[in-house]
C-alpha cells in the first residue's frame, strides 16, 4: 500500500468556501460550447480520414532516400541493421539532440523532486 507523503490537502484549502452545486455547474463548459468542441473533434477526425482514402497501404510512393539507405548502408557504415545505421550514422545529429532531450528531462525531474525532500 502506498500513500502520498505529507498533507493530502493543502493548508489553504480549508479557507476556501466549500464547493456547492452552483459552482460545479459554472465550472464546467456550458452546453453550446461543449457541443462546439464535440463537433470540432468530429470535423478533425473526418479531415484525418482523408489519408485513408488517398494513400494506399502497402504501396508507398517511391522514395529515393529510402532506396539509397537500403542499398548503401552496408557499404557506407558497415551495419547490417539499416535502422541503426540511419539512427546513429546518417542522422547522427538527430540522435544527439534526442539524447540531450532525455538528459535534460531527467535533470528536470531530479531537480523538481529535490525541492520536496
Amino acid at each position: 500500500m502506498l500513500a502520498v507523503r505529507g498533507e493530502r490537502h493543502s493548508p489553504n484549502r480549508g479557507s476556501v468556501a466549500p464547493l456547492n452545486a452552483g459552482d460545479m455547474q459554472q465550472a464546467h463548459y456550458p452546453l453550446p460550447q461543449k457541443l462546439g468542441v464535440i463537433s470540432l473533434i468530429i470535423v478533425v477526425t473526418l479531415i484525418l480520414m482523408l489519408p485513408a482514402f488517398s494513400l494506399s497501404f502497402g504501396h508507398p510512393a517511391a522514395s529515393a532516400t529510402d532506396q539509397y539507405y537500403i542499398s548503401h548502408s552496408q557499404a557506407n557504415t558497415g551495419s547490417n541493421n539499416v535502422v541503426t545505421a540511419i539512427v546513429f550514422d546518417f542522422r547522427g545529429f538527430d540522435t544527439l539532440g534526442e539524447a540531450t532531450v532525455l538528459f535534460v528531462t531527467v535533470l528536470g525531474v531530479a531537480m523538481l523532486f529535490r525541492r520536496i525532500h
Partner: protein, 116 residues
C-alpha cells in the same frame, strides 16, 4: 477502404485523443490522451513506410530471394518519437504529482477554484 484500415485506425485514435484532451478535467486523463495521440502518430509513421510482403530492413540472415525491404527512415523517426514521448510524459507526470501535493486534487477546475 478495408485495405487502408491502419489509416482509418489512425484517424479514429487521433479523434479519441483530442476528445480526451479537450473534454476531460482530470489531468491524468489528459496525459493519457496525449499518450494515445503519440501512439496514433507512431502507427501512422510505421504504416506509411510499409511495403506489401516486405521484410524488415536487416541484412543478417534475411531471406535470400530478395523481396523488397520496408522503408527504414520512418522507423528511425518512430524511434525518435518514442524516446521523446517517454521524456515528455515523465516530466508531465512529475508536474501532476507536484500539483497534487500542493492542491490535493488533479482536477483542473478544482485547481483553478483553489488558486483564486
Amino acid at each position: 477502404m478495408i485495405a487502408n484500415l491502419p489509416f482509418v485506425a489512425v484517424a479514429l485514435l487521433i479523434g479519441i485523443a483530442f476528445a480526451m484532451i479537450l473534454l476531460k478535467y482530470n489531468m491524468i486523463k489528459m496525459i493519457m490522451g496525449l499518450g494515445i495521440l503519440e501512439g496514433a502518430v507512431n502507427l501512422f509513421l510505421v504504416a506509411l513506410g510499409y511495403r506489401e510482403s516486405g521484410i524488415a530492413p536487416i541484412f543478417t540472415n534475411s531471406p535470400a530471394n530478395g523481396s523488397a525491404m520496408v522503408m527504414p527512415t520512418v522507423q528511425a523517426l518512430t524511434l525518435t518519437n518514442i524516446v521523446i514521448g517517454v521524456a515528455t510524459m515523465a516530466l508531465m507526470l512529475v508536474f501532476v504529482m507536484l500539483v497534487y501535493k500542493k492542491y490535493g486534487t488533479v482536477d483542473a477546475n478544482e485547481m483553478r477554484r483553489l488558486r483564486e
